[in-house]
Amino acid sequence: MAMRHGQWSSHRPVRFFAAVGESAQSRVERLALRTGLQRVATPRAASLLLIAGGIPEQSWPALRRLHDQLPHPRGALYWGEGPPPLPDVVEVEPSDTPATAMRRLQAELERDPRASSQDLLPNEPPAPWQGKGPHGQGGEGMMGGTPYGRPMTMRGDELRDGLRLDAHEVTVGPFAPMLPPGLALGLRLQGDVIQQVALIQPPFRDAAAEAPFAEALDRPVAVADLERARAAHHLRCVGRFCALRGALALAARAHASAERARAGNGAGLGTLGRLLWLSGLRPGIAPGLGTLGPAQQGCLLGPALRAAGRPDDLRSRRDPYTGAGFAPVTQRNGDVRARIDQWLAEARQALALAARLEHQPPVAFAAGLEGPAGPLGTPATGDGPRLDLDALLRGLEWGEAVSVLASFSPQALRRMLGEADR
């Protein structure tokens, strides 16, 4: 009986919200894809909070607020190196899969709801909701100010139509599931049109995405492995983008292609390209969306740079590649559409290169090489102009802005925002 109960509970659906920290994004995605645990988009739908990867200390307050957003009974797990950022969490080794621990914790919570993780912050508004004006309003006048500890709306210029309507100020991130992990933005919005963007925190470092490439800076590695990792990275980015735009079948296909690409199998990439059109994904994005102004072009990196028509790729100057007849692929417009096309084209090219360079002896690239998000190990990295998010996103609707941010890989976005890790 106990055994049967155990079996049954192993099929129990576990809904978890992932607070994705450093170098953990693809790890979390693979966990959700392989184990059938359900990763949900809002903490309110989750019973477990999975803190994956290291969380820098400046994001701990946000993590605490996030923790309290889960409904009781709830539990929290920490799946990363170093001391856990929250008290009272179940710790899982980074090399292990947390699936078993998550199922066990879920079963325990169902057996005894009192084991639920307690609130970390007091549940009260930042200031008491009491009126002080003649009609009980919070401020002196009827708008503006921060009457209850929350900024009230204030009129601001509308960019598109000239009507001066109420604008509200909000902070989004660093654990918002539609933004790159770690990115936190201070936004001023009118309706869903973005009036102003302030960068609060750039995306977290994603060393895992570049790990094989960083390794090649120090010691010889097989070039075919590098190219397969590149293809998988790009396809995963395409998959994330498709999922954000609701094309779930396409996203599933892209993620499956990424898994296959790790084994060097490039089947179905042509179909994926055609489906981008047929599903309405490409036609549904306005042409020219996410193009950088002339002053900003200099901060583009890697695939995004080549999508804007510049054939800059360190591989065209590195030995085994030149021998294999490598020439960078480029797109013309440098908009969101072009960046998606570029990822797909580079993934296909990388798999072709991997097949051609399969028997090449391992090579080290001490002078730097082209990573999936731009050049690695060259002195120039990180010295270029910084990306101005306000110029990039101002005037866009929410959905468009999210798409523009998702058209860069998180690591590329981090570097373009001026964070040099290496």
Binding site: G141, M152, R155, D166
Partner: protein, 186 residues
């Protein structure tokens, strides 16, 4: 009192109560949807009176209108959710008296005039005759209403769009002060 009467008075009370709450709530979105509730109750009374098409058309049309109304409320009001309580009325006493006088006058009319009693025959078809009337003897009235609506659409676009014949319509406009007591000088 029959069941029909009870339901009628219930709906009437809903219509009036919701109509009164429209002007008594701080939340502008609630105000719009209280008005919608009033319309839905009146639509239901119309259904009880046998107007199958008109009753549902009222509900249908008013749902769309009130949705738009709510959006405009959120757009233009400084405090649409009513989280910051306030009062925005003027000539309040006069308005109350005017409302009561209107009600008393019309009510006195309803009670004093001897109206004929020729009820709708039971089981009579009402929708098809309405259609025949609209596109038959009263075609001119119906088409006039249609043309009026078309003119309305054009007017609304002209009035509300930014670009006029002589450039942006808001060119040179001056934002007023936020201080509610300051008078407009333009």
């Amino acid at each position: 009192m029959s069941w029909a009467d009870a339901i009628f008075w219930l709906l009437a009370a809903t219509a009036l109560l919701a109509g009164w709450r429209v002007f008594r709530t701080d939340s502008m979105v609630r105000a719009s949807f209280f008005l919608l509730a009033s319309f839905i109750a009146v639509g239901a009374i119309m259904l009880m009176l046998g107007a199958a098409y008109l009753g549902f058309a009222t509900i249908f049309m008013m749902a769309v209108e009130m949705m738009v109304m709510a959006l405009f409320m959120v757009m233009f009001m400084m405090n649409p959710a009513g989280l910051n309580p306030m009062s925005m009325v003027h000539q309040h006493g006069l308005a109350i008296v005017a409302g009561l006088v209107t009600f008393a006058g019309l009510g006195a009319f309803a009670l004093s005039v001897d109206l004929p009693s020729r009820p709708l025959p039971a089981g009579a078809e009402v929708t098809a005759p309405l259609g025949r009337e609209l596109l038959g003897p009263s075609m001119l009235v119906f088409e006039s209403a249609g043309v009026t609506l078309l003119a309305t659409m054009i007017c609304a676009v002209v009035l509300s769009s930014r670009s006029g014949r002589f450039g942006p319509s808001d060119a040179g406009s001056v934002p007023p002060s936020i201080d509610p007591t300051a008078q407009e000088k333009s």
